[in-house]
């Protein structure tokens, strides 16, 4: 019996000298997998225009009814996205979201992407609603902020042209 106790304590002792598995979150963060589904981001094109065209298909696909979109019309004097339509209101209720990624699948312009941020905590329900300003990514280095003033007739299409199957 005494031998078993020694054996057990030996295991404990062994573990004392092993490198720790715990990390000092939030000072330390462990990288997530590439396909990790965290908080959504609304992407932009390289020129700074928003990819989102306010089509609301993400909201339609959402099984938790977490997304709310309202669209408005672009003009060449105030252009947010290519084509005629952009999202003037875009809200995701993070308390409702189940991070299933259906919105990403539904998006015709790859505007919404579930990225790697998993740090979502709120003090009240209202702050769980992420608005478009919170979701949209920063303007790329060579791009311009939206709304942009653009030349007429350049950005006439919301959805990139289809390519012939190869």
């Amino acid at each position: 019996m005494f031998g078993e106790i020694i054996k057990g304590l030996g295991t404990t002792l062994k573990h004392l000298f092993m490198p720790p598995v715990t990390i000092q979150y939030p000072e330390q963060k462990r990288p997530v997998r590439t396909r990790f589904k965290g908080r959504h981001e609304l992407k932009r094109y390289d020129n700074g225009l928003e990819r989102c065209i306010g089509c609301s298909l993400c909201a339609a696909a959402c099984p938790a009814d977490a997304i709310f979109v309202e669209a408005s019309e672009n003009t060449d004097e105030a252009r947010y996205s290519p084509g005629e339509r952009y999202a003037s209101t875009y809200e995701i209720n993070m308390l409702r979201c189940i991070f299933c990624g259906y919105c990403e699948d539904a998006c015709p312009t790859q505007a919404i992407v579930l990225e790697h941020n998993y740090e979502l905590s709120f003090y009240d329900r209202a702050s769980a609603i992420y608005t478009k300003e919170m979701l949209i990514v920063d303007v790329p280095v060579n791009g311009r902020a939206t709304p942009q003033v653009v030349e007429p007739g350049v950005f006439t299409r919301s959805i990139p042209d289809m390519e012939n199957p190869k």
Partner: protein, 849 residues
Amino acid sequence: MSDLITLTIDGTAVSVPKGTLVVDAAKKIGNDIPVFCYHPKLEPVGMCRMCLVEIGLPVRDRATGELVLNADGTPQVNFGRTLQTGCTIVVSEGMVVRTNTQPVDEARESVIEFLLSSHPLDCPICDKGGECPLQNLTMAHGAGTTQMDYSLKLKMDKHVPLGELIYLDRERCIQCARCIRFQEEIVDDPVIRFHNRGRSLEIVTLSDPGFDSYWSGNTTDICPVGALTTSDFRFGARPWELIPVASISVHSPAGANLTFSTRREAKSGGRSVIKRVLPRQNENVNEIWIHDRDRFVHQFADAPDRLQKPLIRKNGQLVEAGWEEAIELVAHKLNGLGEKAAGLSGDRLSNEDLFLFQKFLRQGVKTPHLDLGNRTIMGGDVTAKVGISSGSNLGELGQGDAIVVVASDLHEEEPIWWLRVKQAAQRGATLVILSARPTRLDKFASHTIYYRPGEAVATTRQLLNAAKIAVETAEPDPIKTAADALINAQNLVAFYGAEGLTLAETDTIARLLGNLLLVKGEQPHAGRKNNGLIAVWPHNNTQGAWDMGIHPAFGPGYKALDIPGKDAAAIYAGVQSGEISALYVAGTDPIGDGLLADRGKLDFLVVQELFLTETAKLADVVLPAQSWAERDGTFTSGERRVQRYYPAIPPVGESREDWRILAQIGEKLGLGKTPFAASLVFKEVATAVPAYKGMDYRSLARVEEQWPIIGRSDLYYGGTAYDNKHGLGQQWAAAAEAAAVESFDTADTPTNQPDGIRLIRAAALFTPGTLINHAEVLAERLAKPTLWVNEADASHLQVADGYVVNVAVNGRAVPAIVQMNGKLLKGTAVLRGVPYFPGVVQLEVIGNR
């Protein structure tokens, strides 16, 4: 039974009336043959080729004409070598149709592939996406792949305004011509056309302003793709996010059935708002069409200037107050006033509101003085007796029937009736028009009789007298031939309006036409189905106001009162003389309408309104009412059809239903507890008004199967109009249906027949007004004040096209732009797009340039 044809569609035998098309026959048994260009309300053209099916006919022996039989005894069927279009082929006896064979499937795949060859597939941003026949049929019948080269897709303009109301996306158009055919065949406004040929084919508008038609919105309903969309709903919401709510037009005396699409919106602070208005099918009323006023005028319901809280005048200023205080004050002030008080209401209010309005005044305040604030046309008591009979449908009139229209421009006053009358005339009904000027309906009339302004009564009397005489006159007299055509018709419907007439004249005309319906003594037209009188009321519920007893001489249900009260004119005089010391105004604006100059000697003025009108600005208490979009209730149409509408949006501010406000003040005056729902008020109405007996909210919500089948799952077939799930309404029976009616007393009315050029006012559909002015999209279409004169008269007046003149009307100067109108009779001038004035005045032009 000989009119029924039996054919077999995919093995199912179906019997349909002679002349039915194969697609319709299939639709009746739930076999959906896909179509794009075909629409059940339009003539078939067979342009899109989507409806290709195999059609086989029984083989007959050439010599004997006998059916050739197979070995097993079934008739031999010859399917021919090619597929045929089901939308253009009329059914025939023994026909066999196959819709689920491989050749048919392949044909459908090819047609879809072809239609999509230049379609942009931008469904995510298309307003039609989600309720698009092309989308649905592609999912159902498309191959999913294409042999076409994507780089050859044409790039065309995506945003072509065909006017301010309708936008065209040239890429999306599949060239089915439904819109063009609708404009041409249905509403006779051929203002859009195809231009160019082949792949460059495009829709262009020929009118200035673009797409100048009162019916333009309907083209977006029947467009099978997102090529035509309304500017009103542009990117407003996705169709699947909308909640449909059944309603009734708040303008249309014909009682057009509508559907509001509502959605909660962040832009409106989280309120549910009306995003668009679509027609709701009611084949007895508006079929599946609504005109642009019904479609685009709804913004007022949610306008920022709506009254939010009760206002009470304190130290000369209107300040916001609580309901309790306001109700207490009004009750206190009106209590015991008796005949010193009077009430005026509008005819846009619901039956429930109007019933409690008269009850509140007659039984609560105990005054007999109440009337409509702005009555322009009489004759409700006549339509109650000989009005169009219950069960009538203007859509059934045709060959052998007759319609007479007196003193009304239906196209401007109620386009729905214009459409129904026009279609009846096209089906073969005799149309007789008595008018002071040419109107859009004349084109379809068999007899058109123009009279000089002021001679309407005399002309109608001539018509009636001519109808009474059986003998043939030697010389052909237009009035006599018209009268004969009317009186010998199987069914007779008479419309009358108030164009250029005084109130007294409209009353006489109603009676004269009533007598016309009774001329055939033993078997009068009146009282039979599809016969009777229709008054072209100015508002949606004028008929209801008559029924509810908003009249100084009648109580609810046309019960004649022993001591009639003062009518509106006498009340206005009483306000000035001090005889009336307190006035209760609900839903009407006498000061804004110019009927009352100021408060006069009133001690107390209460106004119950949506907006701070001119009258409300002078009131002591202003009570905020709910618009019809916020509550439920009933309207009675000019065809005496009682129809229900439903709440679509939450109430604005603290506003309350008109009937509730009246009942709550009435409660303080000893009228008993406030009913807690509109349905209970209607129950009370049904007890008090004999004609409404047996009606309740449940019976008004009844529906029946209607043809053609319109609705959400049948988008490809009838368009985006809604099917009717919320009630077709009930037409109440006119007195003549139950018992013979005595002919009306038609004493001569004094008429004003001034010397010189006679001026009348003509209605315009988009005449500026409180409600329509809130519709931004219609701003450009509002009728500008225009003076139409004949060329001879113009040179006499020394004016020409484009001159801006002031026209003196009853002591006021009305500015107007002169427009030559060669069709006008000499000596007749017309003012259009100006506020209402009755009768005929002598044209006086003050200053011109």
